[in-house]
Amino acid sequence: MPEQNKMPVTIIGGYLGSGKTTLVNHLLRNADGKRLAIMVNEFGELPIDADLIEAQDDDIISLSGGCVCCSYGNDLIMAMMDMAKMDPRPDHIVLEASGVALPGAIANSLSLLNDYSLDGIVVLTDVETIRERAGDKYMSDTVLRQLEDADIVLMNKADLVSDNISGDVSSWLAEKSPGAQIIKTERSVVHPTLMLQDFERQPVSGLGMKHHDAGQFNTELVVPDGPVDACQMANDLIENTPGLVRAKGFVKSINGTMQTIQIVGKRAEITPAPEGAEVGVITISVGG
């Protein structure tokens, strides 16, 4: 299946109580026409407003706006294979991992399913408890492996601690999640654009234009002067764009072929570009 026809999957990881379910609900309420499919381990704690629910059976809840929520129980892969047959297909899959799951391992398994592509791994942390969790007798290595797997770390409940503590936790997270961009959040409120790739709808109109959206994120279009080494360019963007969360676009490589650059956190992927792609990379960053 061509890369652009695959369904993007965002994996939401993080320990119990870090705000995963709140984030999932926030994304659902702000889907803005996007047809999301939410995969959860079990329905139990998903407080979906009753008026959003159109129908429910054992393993699936149909929501207004074409969104669905499915529980995968103990067989995630089988549930994902069923999801691929859904008609019409969802625009984006949001997979809420269980609190003890390793999101990197889930991403590895999904890479064997041809209908999906990994959009990114978002790991939530509770600023107040994350360091204690990371020192827990039983859960320490699980929590640290979750952080290592992350492309984006949400530092949740940041409003509940002092700036000092918040700063400390932030530097600690930067060390434990070397591949991730860290975003401070309150009650899991974060713009869906940062969580789910949505470049097609970004209001970018020209070279170097900077777009501010209520102080939540910036977008910018970067157009290189001529052919570039795509890997090198991706690394430069990661290193030199403050607060870079995502980037996607097309460049002409030195050998003349068009390539797609896609960045989430500090992970870049270079693939052949689809036909008709025009040169230009959109970056989405926070802060600044």
Partner: protein, 545 residues
């Protein structure tokens, strides 16, 4: 209507009346065991001499098996060891990869539909010097039909090129630790771990319902019970949706159904509160031959799959620690609620860290909900050390050790997973008894074959497949082993008042043996022939199934 059965010898497991020659049965229950003269006082009777040359034991109790053992026999058996199917046919073990291929070729020739998959099971490369099966070897059987072989451990699947092609995985560039690649950059056909097996498994006939037990599978499982002397067996992890429960209620109620089944509700896929609610409602549906309402919680993975949670110093080969399959918070919640509501939990732990977590949660739970006789049971619990056994005893826990595992994978643990010292303490039956922890031993069928006499042999001799004795100090004697496969297992199911011994008032559940285990060389215990069983007073001859 009273029937008195005569026997060469009756081993009762009743300490106040250990041996008898006759047993009297009325309405499926035991009036008493003793001499004919002693039993005649119960009034008019029919003397049944069917077993006059046989040895009668209490019906054996398998405290950790899965009814899917019955279902798996629909597929081609390619295991290394000889194994009996539900119909009594003994399949020769496949001694090398060539023998596996030959067995598959025979099966291939019997399928008319050229596109139909060929699923097989119970492969174990450990016995082929760890030589792996490749897709090219399986392609010799067929290049047009998808073929898959499930390993004995259940953790690895080998497939041919056609199966990979159907799953869209016959390509280069795969980067997944569960998918080894050959020199050509393509997958070798070996797939490790459930998440990697699933996408290909559905193309080779291992579909989603493989683990679920259907009607035919349940009947076949019960036949295997008769052939191994088992009258009560657990189905240790099932989702138990309404339609499955209704099927099991109907099938087990049939006059011809020869076993008592104890299915446990698996914790996965529902919230802790839903789990408790479901188990509570199942409990009310229990019948004599289908005992519902118990809970199974899986805490970690397996040691040979490196997914068990083990304590420092970790895996012998340096592999990273395994996986938690439940959070401590959820485990604690389930334990607390079950203690409060008098629900019975069995926990799967393989690694000693997972066991430690269960002990911590129990200690805490019992402070809030003191329960004098909860009998929560640690299943497998293979790596527990003596300090943990002492804690189990204090906390009133039971244990069901995986004695068979020691034989099949003991060498692997010695060489690779946990190293020599800890391999010797695995499945420490003697320590369990010495610490005062009520103990059973199990097969985990279909992972290893159902057969408590074989399981007892494993615990007594502690031989590994290569013929080494591993853990001399943890051997138990014949009396202890026979207790473990009868009353010991019954105790872990809270059924010891009804089954597990031959004494007045209990269910007339017997294992009918061709020779006397108490008068058998302990190294030959596994070779004792089983004639069949009596269950609830009904006679089931293995030869007539």
């Amino acid at each position: 209507m009273t029937t008195i059965f005569s026997a060469r010898k009756i081993i009762t497991m009743n300490p106040s009346n250990p041996e008898a020659t006759h047993v009297a049965v009325r309405d499926g229950r035991i009036l008493g065991a003793g001499s004919l003269q002693e039993l005649e006082g119960w009034g008019q009777y029919t003397l049944d001499e069917t077993f006059k040359d046989k040895v009668i034991m209490p019906g054996l109790v398998e405290g950790h098996s899965h009814a899917m053992e019955g279902t798996l026999w629909k597929y081609t058996y390619v295991g290394f060891f000889d194994r009996m199917d539900p119909h009594g046919k003994v399949w020769d073990g496949a001694g090398d990869i060539e023998a596996v291929i030959t067995r598959l070729e025979e099966a291939n020739g019997k399928i008319d539909d050229p596109d139909a998959p060929l699923p097989a099971w119970s492969l174990d490369p450990i016995y082929f010097n760890n030589e792996r099966v490749s897709r090219e070897q399986l392609d010799r059987v067929s290049t047009t039909r998808p073929i898959g072989i499930m390993h004995a451990s259940g953790h690895i699947l080998n497939v041919n090129s056609k199966a990979l092609e159907l799953a869209g995985l016959l390509k280069s560039g795969i980067n997944n630790p569960g998918v080894p690649l050959g020199k050509d950059g393509l997958p070798t056909g070996e797939l490790k771990g459930p998440d990697v097996m699933t996408p290909v498994g559905i193309h080779v006939g291992f579909d989603r319902d493989m683990l679920a037990c259907d009607e035919e599978g349940l009947i076949d499982f019960a036949k295997l019970c008769v052939r191994s002397g088992v009258t009560t067996a657990t189905d240790l992890a099932a989702r138990l949706p309404e339609e499955a429960v209704n099927m099991m209620l109907e099938v087990t109620a049939r006059k011809t159904f020869p076993a008592r089944i104890v299915p446990l509700r698996y914790h996965h896929g529902v919230t802790p509160d839903e789990l408790i609610k479901h188990a509570t409602s199942l409990k009310k549906q229990s019948t004599d031959r289908l005992r519902l309402g118990k809970i199974k919680v899986v805490v970690d993975g397996s040691i040979q799959g490196f997914s068990a949670r083990i304590r420092w110093p970790g895996y012998y080969n340096g592999a990273p620690n395994g996986l938690w399959y439940i959070s401590p918070e959820h485990l604690r919640h389930i334990i607390n609620a079950s203690l409060e509501k008098d629900l019975h939990i069995h926990t799967h732990t393989n690694g000693d860290e997972a066991t430690e977590l269960v002990l911590d949660c129990m200690e805490e739970g019992l402070l809030k909900h003191p329960s004098r006789d909860h009998r929560f049971t640690l299943q497998h619990c293979q790596l527990a050390d003596s300090a943990q056994f002492r804690r189990m005893a204090k906390l009133g826990m039971c244990i069901n050790l995986f004695a068979n595992h020691h034989f099949y994978w003991g060498d692997e643990h010695y060489n690779l997973t946990v190293g020599p010292e800890r391999a010797k303490r695995m499945n420490a039956c003697a320590t369990a008894i010495e610490s005062g922890v009520p103990m059973a031993i199990h097969s985990d069928a279909p992972i290893t074959p159902l057969g408590p006499l074989f399981t007892a042999w494993c615990a007594i001799n502690r031989l590994t497949a290569s013929g080494r004795t591993q853990g001399e100090e943890e051997k138990i004697d014949i009396d202890e082993a026979l207790y473990a496969i009868t009353l010991g297992a019954a105790y872990t199911l809270k059924l010891d008042g009804e089954i597990g011994s031959i004494e007045s008032g209990k269910r007339a559940d017997f294992a009918i043996l061709e020779s006397d285990p108490e008068d058998t060389d302990p190294t030959k215990l596994k070779d004792i022939k089983v004639w069949g069983t009596v269950q609830d007073g009904r006679i089931f001859s293995a030869a007539d199934l």
